[in-house]
Symmetry: C2
Subunit: 330 residues, 2 copies
């Protein structure tokens, strides 16, 4: 089924208000979920809303809590998320980073004690919409084995880098595993192999069989040892900058994955916007003109999200019927 933005947003506001969210916070939180759904990232849109509500019920998310500024030095600040809703906290912190950037050229916020920010790309689009280069990342619980290990001890920490561009921002939104558990399940249900190896069997053999990876809990970090190392430094930087909790101390129970640490950086583009835009368009055109195998095509990061957004604005936003029935019943 496809629904309008307005229909989805109104329904989410209703549920959030009923749960006790203040009017403006219900509105903003619903906006972040609805925009994520509209952008085609269903896993972190409505499909995630039920878990979000469950974590409020369990007391992991405090719907009234707002982030508090703990310490600052010039353009760097440390904030405590006080276990507020992860998406509202993250949005407020990227907003703060852009404020700092407007005063200092660039700004950075380390945020501790927050909750899952849902779609990380949201805060990249946010920075770019305001004209800033955005860089942000979060840690997670332990869900990926470090290179050389057989047990999950590092996080699938997403890294987002965005660059403002008139014809469509460039937005990288990249987790550290080659395939998420959600993606593995989706391939398995379709009965197809992964397009490239995505993890290990219980015997430590590289495999493209999604079920074997689900069984071993050993998905592959991107670039093997490289993605493993990147995950480690992102966790360290986020927990050190925020004086917060690192991955190894975050509960492995998905419903108790809380006290996360995150970083938000916003950077003023010193180059004249028109010149920067010309340069970016030239890079994009060069990529688009790449020779490729039949049926393949080169995209710039963010291109397909923007295309999906336009499609969903025109045709309505796809919603899983069961998910929608569940939300209507909340």
């Amino acid at each position: 089924m496809r629904l309008s933005y307005e229909t989805i947003h109104t329904e989410l506001v209703r549920v959030l208000r009923k749960t006790g969210f203040a009017e403006d916070r219900a509105y903003n939180c619903a906006t972040l979920f609805t925009e994520t759904q509209q952008d085609g990232v269903y896993s972190h849109g409505l499909n995630r809303f039920g878990r979000f509500m469950k974590m409020i019920e369990l007391g992991c998310i405090d719907i009234e809590a707002e982030p508090e500024n703990i310490f600052g030095f010039g353009a760097v600040e440390q904030w405590d998320g006080r276990l507020g809703p992860g998406n509202l906290n993250a949005y407020a912190m990227m907003d703060r980073a852009t404020e700092l950037a407007s005063q200092h050229g660039l700004g950075m916020v380390g945020l501790r004690n927050t909750n899952h920010w849902m779609r990380g790309g949201t805060y990249g689009w946010q920075a770019a919409d305001k004209g800033y280069i955005g860089i942000c990342w979060t840690n997670t619980n332990q869900n990926l084995p470090p290179w050389g290990a057989t047990e999950a001890r590092i996080g699938n920490n997403p890294l987002i880098i965005s660059i403002p561009r008139k014809e469509g921002h460039v937005v990288l939104d990249m987790a550290m595993s080659q395939f998420s558990y959600g993606a593995l399940a989706s391939y398995r249900k379709k009965g197809v192999s992964l397009p490239v190896p995505g993890g290990y069997t219980n015997d430590g053999e590289l495999t493209s069989d999604p079920a074997a990876i689900e069984a071993s809990y050993r998905p592959l970090p991107i670039g093997f040892w490289k993605g493993s190392a990147l995950s480690i430094v992102l966790d360290m930087a986020a927990s050190v900058m925020s004086a917060g909790t690192a991955t190894h101390r975050i509960s492995s129970d998905p419903l108790k994955e809380t006290e996360l640490s995150q970083c938000f950086i916003a950077i003023s583009v010193l180059t004249d916007f028109a010149d920067a835009n010309t340069l970016l368009d030239e890079i994009v055109a060069h990529l688009h003109a790449s020779p490729s195998n039949e049926g393949e095509q080169v995209y710039y990061p963010g291109q397909r999200t923007l295309a999906k957004r336009k499609e969903n604005i025109a045709q309505g936003i796809p919603v899983d019927e069961d998910v929608w029935i569940a939300i209507k019943g909340m």
Copy 2:
């Protein structure tokens, strides 16, 4: 053969002075090469010195040029490298980023018109030695096909992230390809397969055969589509922030790979250093305690570099005999 730091450094200073380097610049440039060799990164230490000298001879590197501040706003600055030696330029710019960070909490420099910085990790260690978190990256010429393409149109742009730590800094130094061309050649010469797939055959099949990848010029970006996307945003950010040249306009002739664009970020750690150190040590201990397959072990990023450094300080620095003879003859 193994040589002392002093022997190598003295010899490099002699060659650089003979080429016309001013005394202090010869000393500093020799230091950067010798330290890289001492850290075991031979490909960007002495093994690269000949090409560095050749590019001076060809006029790509101007040994007298120093970077010039073009524009600044608060903690962000744009500099022109004026085609000076890439390692001296990069060192000066990370130094400038840490100065900005000492005033503003964090600092960032976009550098254009520079040359190959040799080992990127150098500038990560540099920031960490001064007590700052360092992030830097460079673009390169076109040496990697973007995801979906059959022709090299993006760069193998290394990304460095470092975190200061008392018992050994954490330093990620990661290029975008799974294996460099240097690594491919080294596996081929040994007659062994790559440990994991590293690129494509001419027929577009994933392969672990190094020679097949050298023939196709299609090494694999880390994480397939993800590393490709990361390479693209790093090139865009570096060229936009510095108003410099992007990858697609940089010469594909290795001896004319010049006019590079780079970014340098230094961040003040707001958390008390002792507390931050305790947290980092805890993360490292947790990684080291990972269960693993026999003969495997988990390292934190930078751990093996530090171990190699200690070994080479104790036993002398390994130098390829032919390389040393060539340098002696310069």
